[in-house]
């Protein structure tokens, strides 16, 4: 079971990212479960979402407290949301940031920063970094294939928005692979 926790703010597509992640896994024949940290839907408020990926049926519905990876869509929530809490030893932390983030942690993590918002603005025209980060996540973790991410984007979006997001995710994927 691979568990991912996503952090961000309302309006950044945190929940959609979790959903697309689950769809990507599903498309690879895996079981996946995505769910938000339920609350009223307010723009700008800190938001969490979760995604479990497994070869077997997923029954548990508890929130993810010990993720294998965290995806941070907005670096400003890291502290207030305690975004790294419970993250496993050698877990992944994918952070939307064009500059490198210095975090002092007691455990070793695989941290990757990517300027997803810039890529999104550049290619999609909107500051929604979720698809970009999923492309990067695919490269970073290899838990899901980039093809699955592209398919997932295409189920959630359509037309030019889908096209642009796919492009952005691919760029992020390439960038991430190249940077490793």
């Amino acid at each position: 079971m691979f568990q991912v926790r996503l952090h961000g703010r309302g309006g950044q597509g945190v929940v959609t990212a979790a959903e697309m992640l689950s769809i990507s896994a599903f498309l690879e024949g895996k079981h996946a479960q995505a769910f938000p940290s339920f609350g009223s839907e307010r723009m700008g408020a800190p938001v969490q979402a979760f995604c479990r990926i497994s070869e077997n049926e997923i029954r548990s519905r508890e929130p993810i407290m010990n993720p294998d990876a965290v995806i941070i869509l907005d670096r400003t929530v890291i502290e207030p949301a305690n975004a790294f809490s419970g993250l496993k030893e050698n877990g992944y932390a994918l952070i939307n940031s064009s500059t490198k983030i210095n975090v002092s942690l007691s455990k070793s993590l695989k941290i990757k920063c990517i300027g997803a918002t810039e890529i999104a603005l550049d290619l999609v025209g909107r500051p929604i970094p979720n698809a970009v980060l999923l492309g990067s996540f695919s490269a970073l973790t290899n838990i899901i294939k980039i093809d699955s991410v592209i398919k997932a984007i295409n189920t959630k979006f359509s037309g030019s928005i889908a096209e642009k997001n796919v492009k952005a995710a691919q760029i992020a994927y390439e960038q991430t692979l190249g940077g490793m």
């Binding site: 769910f35 508890e62 929130p63 407290m65």
Partner: protein, 397 residues
């Protein structure tokens, strides 16, 4: 077809497959996505010959469904929490009129204080309202129960409420097998209403009934619910043979043969419970089993008794309780097991969306300290509040 879908979207698709002709909706979290989904299916032409009404309140929503069922068409609505209470009067009315409405209850607690998160307080508040109440364990079952619900409702002329845990299921993406339209059509034939409103059926529906006959009306309604036990089982069988999925029915056991302790629960918490029980069984000596109650109304007493009578201990995990008394489901289980010398423990969990973790459950199952307890209750807060001059010290626990 197997799809990765949000629970609400899956339900919207499933309900559309049942071809309701009137769907009415009033927004309340967390039920909203379901009717939004149906609305979209109506608008894009997937669900044909269906009137989708945006009404001004839950009272209107259920009332529209009452009207359309009375006029002889398959009708659907959904609500949660306060919405259910707001339609309460009509909830009783719908069952009294024997109108086979199907309603999704996206379970949510009841305020005040206002709280939009999941528990079963809303469902428990209508447990005597004459509706059949079925609880879904996961989104696949939620989908399947809705398809079964129309069939059950229409065959016994009684409304059915399908309880789906708010957020936990309604907002969760997971894989769901959505049946094909032709399969559903075969399973759920065209609605043949027992009452309708036209020149040929000039009936008066909803007569006043005096003390001379009212008790008989109620008795018959009770009898109908008891008869529904068989209907629910049969529909499950039929569904199984048609769709090859073991969804619905009255109860479902998990490792209960030879279990010392059986955990009884309803709804989505069962998944986490099963994981907890698997962990316990893998490590300890005591053997744990799980009993899912799918049909809460009618209450399958005999089936429950049969499932539990070998256990030494029964732990009921319930997401609602009766203030001033205690667990609700546990009381009913206790009555079923009366005289069998089985300990019944009531664990109130997840109230107002409080986190229920596998860890918490395991600890509690292994060593339930009290016969009645609240899972994850913050003692410090309680103690602090007890120091407050505003709180009466009388009857301090």
């Amino acid at each position: 077809m197997l799809q990765q879908l949000e629970g609400s979207q899956a339900l919207a698709k499933a309900i559309a497959l049942c071809r309701p002709q009137v769907v009415c909706a009033y927004p309340i979290t967390p039920q909203t996505h379901i009717v939004e989904g149906i609305g979209e299916l109506v608008r894009n032409g997937t669900l044909k010959n269906c009137e989708f009404l945006n009404v001004e309140s839950e009272m209107a929503a259920i009332s529209v469904a009452i009207g359309s069922e009375a006029a002889g068409v398959r009708s659907y609505t959904a609500t949660s929490s306060q919405g259910l209470l707001y339609m309460m009067e009509a909830v009783y009315n719908a069952s009294g009129l024997e109108l086979p409405i199907v309603m999704t209850l996206g379970n949510r607690t009841i305020g005040s204080p206002i709280n939009i998160w999941n528990d079963h307080s809303d469902a428990m508040s209508v447990r005597d309202a004459g509706w059949l109440m079925l609880f879904a364990e996961n989104n696949q079952e939620a989908v399947d129960l809705h398809i079964q619900a129309f069939k059950i409702a229409e065959s016994i002329k009684c409304p059915v409420m399908v309880c789906v845990d708010g957020f936990v299921l309604t907002h969760a993406y997971e894989q769901v097998n959505i049946p094909e339209q032709n399969e559903v059509d075969e399973f759920l034939p065209k609605y043949n209403p027992h009452i309708s409103m036209d020149k040929k059926h000039s009936y008066a529906i909803g007569a006043m009934v005096s003390p001379n006959d009212f008790m008989e009306v109620r008795y018959l309604a009770h009898k109908r619910q008891l008869d529904a036990l068989d209907v629910i089982s049969n529909v499950r069988e039929e569904f199984l043979s048609k769709f090859n999925r073991n969804s619905g029915g009255l109860i479902r056991g998990y490792n209960i043969d030879g279990a010392d302790t059986v955990i009884v629960a309803m709804g989505s918490v069962l998944g986490t419970i099963k994981d907890a029980v698997d962990n316990l069984n893998a490590s300890g000596n005591e053997k744990f089993g799980v009993l899912s109650i799918i049909s809460y109304r009618p209450f399958p007493q005999n089936e429950i008794k049969k499932a539990l009578n070998q256990a030494k201990r029964v732990i009921v995990v319930e997401k609602a309780f009766a203030l001033g008394k205690g667990g609700i489901l546990s009381q009913e289980i206790e009555l079923v097991l009366k005289g069998l010398n089985i300990d019944v423990i009531s664990i109130i969990a997840g109230i107002g969306g409080r986190i229920i973790t596998k860890q918490m459950l395991m600890e509690c199952f292994e060593n339930p300290k009290d016969k009645f307890q609240f899972l994850g209750l913050n003692r410090a807060t309680i103690e602090k509040e007890y120091q407050s001059p505003c709180i009466s010290k009388v009857g301090k626990e």
